[in-house]
Symmetry: C2
Subunit: 374 residues, 2 copies
């Protein structure tokens, strides 16, 4: 027999989370996580599954029947979206302007799509015309794009895009991991075919669930596949029977995480999406003003800037990691550095869900002021 390790219980030292996710989780949601375990076929849990779907439809602003949380993180929802829509050889257009666009491309290749990509520099967004041009030169069955690029803070306008994609016979798959519940995401109004998110960003639940919704075109595409989905766990036709009336066992849903999501979505519904979007907007504007007051400049122009993740340039001569370290050590505030090309050059500041409050902005700006000038 090998010896059992002996470790102490953890101490609580949780910081104010102002990075690009996870965000701080409200006590009510934490409490829901700690509810005694119940069976995955318990009538109470089955009822919660129905309510979650209803609450998610509100949050996604959709009537789509197939609207569920995938039993994995936001990246799992991305994988679900792409693997269910793509069959080997399918032409796919991926729009890349940051880290998560790259990830979409990688997944599409693994699903053996014929991938074409168009690129914009990090921090920029695509115009409808650019996508139209790409589709004119080669139609695509799936167009994949990120709504809010967590790696850059740029918000991709989506109005009118689905019409264009549909006119070329394609499906529009949208990554709303960093926007759902913080920026408007209007699935029905914008006619998105597939849209997915993560639980730990603007929904302020623990990470581990990836809400996804499939519109009628996407559901039809799934039903008419000629090949099986290339994996089993993320096959939406299996999940559909589990979350739908049949209740056919697929896998055991992460029960506690779903109880937490239920409570988190109840909070979204109580606050109301418009009020929630306005709160994100107001705290972001206060942040931008505060950063400008400290002589810093934002990477993304205000016209297409996310309110939920702000990238700001590190002032000349400042050691960005040292500042982040002091924020965490001395002020118990966590923000993030840059990804990819932006590493060392920017900070990424998240104001997501429960964390998107003016009092948190004041605390951060005050701390930054002291560290940089104090």
């Amino acid at each position: 027999m090998k010896n059992p390790p002996n470790y102490p219980q953890l101490e609580d030292n949780a910081p104010l989370l102002l990075g690009p996710g996870p965000s701080n989780v409200p006590p009510r949601v934490l409490q829901a996580m700690a509810a005694p375990m119940m069976g995955h076929l318990d009538p109470i849990f089955l009822d919660v599954m129905d309510r979650i779907q209803h609450l998610l439809r509100y949050t996604f602003q959709t009537e789509n029947s197939l609207t569920i949380p995938v039993s994995g993180t936001g990246s799992a929802a991305m994988e679900t979206a792409l693997s269910n829509m793509i069959e080997p050889g399918d032409p796919v257009l991926v729009c890349i302007s940051g880290f998560f666009g790259e990830r979409m491309e990688e997944m599409c290749r693994r699903y053996r799509a014929e991938v074409e990509i168009i690129r914009r520099p990090m921090g920029e967004v695509f115009t409808i015309e650019e996508i139209e041009q790409a589709l004119k030169s080669r139609p695509a069955k799936v167009v994949a794009i990120v709504h809010g690029e967590t790696s850059t803070g740029a918000l991709q306008p989506l109005e009118g895009m689905a019409d264009l994609v549909h006119a070329h016979g394609g499906l529009l798959v949208v990554d709303a991991v960093a926007t759902l519940g913080g920026n408007p995401v209007l699935v029905d109004e914008w006619d998105l075919d597939v849209c997915y998110s993560g639980s730990q960003k603007c929904l302020s639940c623990p990470p581990g669930l990836g809400p996804i919704t499939l519109g009628p075109r996407a559901e039809k595409t799934l039903a008419e596949r000629e090949t099986s989905v290339a994996n089993w766990y993320f096959d939406m036709s299996g999940m559909q029977k589990y979350w739908g009336k049949e209740r056919t066992y697929h896998h055991t849903a992460p029960i506690s995480s779903n109880l937490a999501l239920y409570e988190g979505l109840r909070i979204v519904a109580e606050e109301g999406l418009e009020a929630r979007w306005a709160r994100h907007q107001a705290s972001a504007e206060m942040l931008w003003e505060g950063l400008q007051g400290l002589d810093m400049t934002m990477v993304v122009p205000e016209a297409y800037r996310m309110t939920t993740v702000t990238t700001v340039r590190v002032p000349e001569g400042v050691d960005e990691a040292a500042v982040r370290g002091r924020l965490r050590e001395e002020y118990n505030i966590a923000i993030a550095g840059g990804l990819g090309d932006m590493k060392g050059k920017v900070w990424r500041i998240g104001l997501m869900g429960h964390s998107a409050r003016k009092r948190n902005v004041r605390r951060l700006i005050g701390a930054l002021d002291k560290i940089l000038h104090g």
Copy 2:
């Protein structure tokens, strides 16, 4: 704008969980789930990730470096095991004697393996000779087998099996979803190449994580793949860099679920595996005696019966669903019915992890006695 749904907060009505998972979660683990959120790159969480790997190595009884929890349920760990070991066209042997063997076959087909299957009736196990015969007629790169079939309650002996598989140039992949932490699972002693489990069975954590371990042969097979793993989320080479020293971002780990797993594994280490196995054994023996005292017979002979899941025949003329309903309604005890061919004919009674206690057996036997005879 669509209207926000208005739902009440849930009431607590959690039953004694004596089905084949999830099991009851100890209060300490529930409390860990409710810890304030922290970042996935927080030094405290990174430290917890290291400790979890160490604790999992103890639980799997292995020195395997690549030993981590997959960010999904036990089925996600199954998918990880198979998709990482299989390339298109690989010959695979799947041993099927129940529902989860069938699932393994389904996954192998999706990964485009050349699948051969051998079958035993539900409730039975394979002999080494049967597997040897199959490998002699066609060698396999991967042999996949279930250690404890949750659908039947049969415990597959594994001693000597890896030697046989290795002698034929293959890898042995073992499903220990229903046994790890309850029945002995000796990864190094038995020389298993891949072994995986789920958090919600004998580890008594919430569902949502799938511990997995890869031995040296499996790690080499992964490193020498000619094709990418056919999905992205479950690619162990990505997870390896995230959980290893590089800390390269892959996906955001389900933080709360991992804090819970840390606490659950600490409990395993405190109790010690031998004491834990003995507790499962003692409560199972008491259950079997109690059921026999009620004139019921077990499906699986004692020689290869799991202690963690017992299948017992429903007495002649008894409505099995009605009895389960009364157990749940009147006694707040949850057990499960049969799957597949066994539906309506058996009950499945789990004594897993925290639930595997004699006081729970007494409560169940007393309740069954009253319902059946009282």
